[in-house]
């Protein structure tokens, strides 16, 4: 049996173990809640993580569509980027899949001589990690952009109120939070 068939065969066990180790990166009290509460609105983090891991695993099995997998990764990383994780911790959940697969399929890989296939799969997981790194950075940059934008807007409003600057084309001012073009 090839590695892909093995992964398909053991899909639910691997996914369960992968989501367990990912959820366990949270403090124990939090991990218990994330596993217990099934309502997606009462527990958005748990629900996004479980769904996201399933989607990502599906991509690995059926061949990666980079646009699609980026969206799946984004759902999880956007959350972890604002939680108490260092950057390495935030994206480590990708690498945890390697660990789970090696442990779960150790015997079968050895018996069927699948180490080459395993290497290929792990390279695909590494690619996901690189994508994850980009997404994590985009999220963090967005946070800093939001900070800067709020300060820019505030400064712009104050300067305008103090009549130190004047907006000649009022219609160009944008109340949706983008006044930088006026600065």
């Amino acid at each position: 049996m090839g590695l892909e068939n093995l992964l398909t065969h053991k899909r639910s066990t691997i996914l369960k173990k992968w989501s367990d180790v990912v959820i366990e990166t949270y403090p124990p009290e939090t991990a218990a809640f994330l596993k217990r509460q099934k309502d997606r609105f009462a527990n958005p983090v748990g629900s996004v993580v479980f769904q996201g891991l399933e989607d990502i695993f599906g991509e690995l099995l059926q061949g990666i569509d980079y646009e699609r997998v980026s969206a799946f990764l984004d759902n999880i990383i956007r959350i972890r980027a604002v939680q108490d994780f260092s950057p390495s911790h935030a994206i480590a959940f990708i690498f945890l899949l390697k660990k789970v697969i090696r442990e779960e399929l150790k015997k079968e890989i050895k018996e069927n001589g699948l180490s080459k296939e395993l290497l290929a799969l792990e390279s695909r997981i590494d690619e996901l990690a690189l994508l994850a790194f980009d997404i994590f950075m985009q999220c963090r940059e967005k946070i800093y952009e939001l900070k800067a934008m709020e300060l820019n807007n505030q400064t712009y409003s104050l300067l305008k109120k103090a009549k130190l600057i004047i907006d000649l084309e009022e219609q160009e001012s944008c109340p949706n939070g983008d006044n930088t073009k006026n600065l």
């Binding site: 366990e24 990166t25 949270y26 403090p27 124990p28 009290e29 939090t30 809640f33 994330l34 509460q37 309502d39 997606r40 609105f41 009462a42 527990n43 958005p44 983090v45 956007r78 959350i79 604002v82 939680q83 108490d84 260092s86 390495s88 911790h89 480590a92 690498f95 945890l96 660990k99 999220c139 967005k142 946070i143 800093y144 939001l146 900070k147 934008m149 709020e150 300060l151 807007n153 409003s157 104050l158 109120k161 103090a162 009549k163 009022e170 219609q171 001012s173 944008c174 109340p175 949706n176 939070g177 006044n179």
Partner: protein, 534 residues
């Protein structure tokens, strides 16, 4: 955070250690806390221990007897507020509140479970004020008040938006927000506030509003709204400041003079008041409905609140209308009567247009703008063209203080359904009294704590995303200025393409004025449906 070596980083077992919460010291993380208060902000209102200090410093420059001050303050409040004593004693740690806080749900820090956040103080209470705590210490859930414990209290007191969602689920009726309110009050005895609260309090006390906008600036601002409205509608709406003898004083959050989204909401009020010919005045002295004193101490909240009635008396108005604000209504609804009892120099509010008596405002003499507008609509007193809002698919974020705090659930919905053709509710466990906080309330809408705001707002944004994906919702309506200022950043991170609007912005768009020209744009200057440039 200590620098980790590559071999440490590559250890991919990230299971956090299992330690009890008391043995897990708080790490004060940048991006999570707001800057500490400035010396001048405390001096302005005569608060203790005004000095320059920084959260990031080891030494917070506390008075030598800081522990004594804190414990004496705690003792005083336990005897003064029976409810506080009960909240300290009766929690059985059943956990009903534990997973209801938006900060815990979004961030995952166990100390943001309301029960645990309150335990941070309860453990100190037990240690110094209960026999079991004194005798058994940690076994009885008691601990010493140390410098680090004090820092932990400060860190988490400013990670609670006092939204009261947790209290909804407590079988004993413990209001954990009140515990946060008291912790903040105790911290203020030591000069430990945040500048995003202390600054606005000082400005409000001295100048009349959070930003410190001066009377001529307010006048210029409203003048510019008047000019914009004339361009858009062809009608010159009138307004007045400080007009003695007006029937009604209008009090609104000053963010509406300053914040671009709030500006448009205010323009909506102006159109409405003009159209019905309301005898209403604004005030430069009371140019703030918000009350950041409420996020500081009971006494400070009262000091700022008293200005509103002093001005109402001076101007000899009959009653007051209040604008789209959140905590302003919590103060009015839940604290005002305890402080002052019924106001005897104002009249019971009656709408001059419909004759409706606002009996719920008999004591305070203040009516919520949404109640007032919903009443006008119900009686068919204003002409509306909801198709002008047809570009918007709208959902409503119930502002915590107004919905959960004072029980106003239908009025904003009634208004939206009359001025818009496309309204969609978010899921039931995320709206009305179950509403999820914006994550920035109670003075936490600073910029430096953006990470905290994003995680706190996650449950709200998650529900917005659901209606965005399901129904194509592109507009998040609300009736709170902190929401208007904070939710747009939240949407930009979690739910791009969703625009935040005040309910009276939507009213202003739909309102058909007598003698108006054919409108081509909404109040933001964006083309109305069917009026896009070809």
């Amino acid at each position: 955070m200590a620098v980790q070596k590559p071999e440490e980083l590559s250890k991919i077992d990230y299971k956090p250690p299992k330690t009890s919460w008391m043995d897990t010291p708080a790490e004060l993380r940048k991006d999570m806390f707001c800057w500490g208060n400035k010396e001048k902000s405390l001096k302005t209102v005569g608060f203790p221990n005004a000095r320059a200090w920084s959260v990031a410093d080891e030494d917070w420059k506390l008075p030598e007897n800081w522990k004594e001050i804190f414990l004496e303050g705690l003792k005083e409040r336990l005897s003064k507020y029976r409810s506080f004593q009960l909240f300290m004693d009766i929690c059985v740690r059943c956990g009903a509140c534990a997973d209801k806080c938006h900060f815990f749900i979004g961030g995952g820090d166990p100390k943001n479970m309301p029960v645990l956040r309150a335990e941070l103080l309860r453990s100190i209470y037990r240690n110094y004020f209960t026999t079991s705590g004194k005798m058994l210490g940690k076994v009885a859930g008691a601990r010493e008040l140390t410098y680090n414990v004090l820092k932990e209290l400060w860190y988490y007191a400013y990670q609670c938006t006092e939204c009261r969602r947790c209290s909804l689920f407590c079988p004993y009726g413990i209001d954990t927000a009140e515990v946060t309110i008291l912790v903040r009050e105790l911290l203020n005895l030591l000069g430990l506030n945040i500048e995003w609260i202390a600054g606005p309090v000082a400005n409000c006390w001295r100048t009349g509003n959070h930003m410190g906008l001066l009377p001529h600036t307010l006048r210029d601002t409203v003048d510019s709204f008047q000019a914009d409205l004339e361009t858009i509608t062809g009608v010159k709406v009138d307004y007045s400041f400080n007009r003695k003898g007006a029937e009604i004083l209008f009090v609104n959050p000053s963010g509406e003079f300053f914040d671009p989204v709030g500006n448009i909401t205010f323009m909506g009020y102006m159109l409405l008041f003009h159209e019905i010919g309301l005898d209403v005045t604004l005030s430069t002295y009371v140019s703030e409905g918000g009350n950041f004193g409420f996020f500081t101490s009971n006494e400070m909240a009262k000091r700022l609140h008293s200005k509103v009635y002093a001005e109402a008396k001076r101007l000899k108005v009959k009653w007051i209308i209040g604008g789209e604000c959140g905590h302003m209504w919590r103060v009015w609804h839940q604290y005002h009567n305890t402080w002052y009892g019924p106001v005897d120099f104002l009249k019971e509010p009656v709408s001059p247009i419909t004759g409706t008596k606002f009996e719920n405002a008999k004591s305070n003499k203040i009516v919520h703008i949404c109640e007032f507008t919903a009443d006008l609509i119900k009686h068919g007193k204003i002409k509306l063209d909801p198709s002008r809002n047809d570009n918007y698919k709208v959902t409503l974020h119930d502002s915590c203080n107004v919905s959960r705090g004072m029980g106003m659930l239908e009025e904003p919905r009634d208004i939206i359904k009359s001025v818009c053709n496309n309204f969609y509710e978010m899921p039931p466990n995320t709206i009305r009294e179950n509403t999820f906080c914006c994550g920035s309330g109670s003075g936490l809408n600073a910029s430096e704590n953006m990470e905290l705001r994003m995680r706190g707002g996650l449950p709200r944004a998650n529900a917005v995303n659901y209606v965005r994906d399901k129904f194509g919702v592109n507009t998040l309506a609300n009736i709170c200025q902190i929401d208007r200022a904070a939710l747009q950043a939240l949407m930009n991170y979690w739910a791009p393409d969703v625009v935040v609007r005040g309910v009276h912005e939507l009213v202003g768009n739909a309102l058909v004025l007598k003698g108006e020209k054919e409108r081509t744009t909404d109040l933001r200057g964006e083309p109305l449906p069917g009026k896009e440039a070809k």
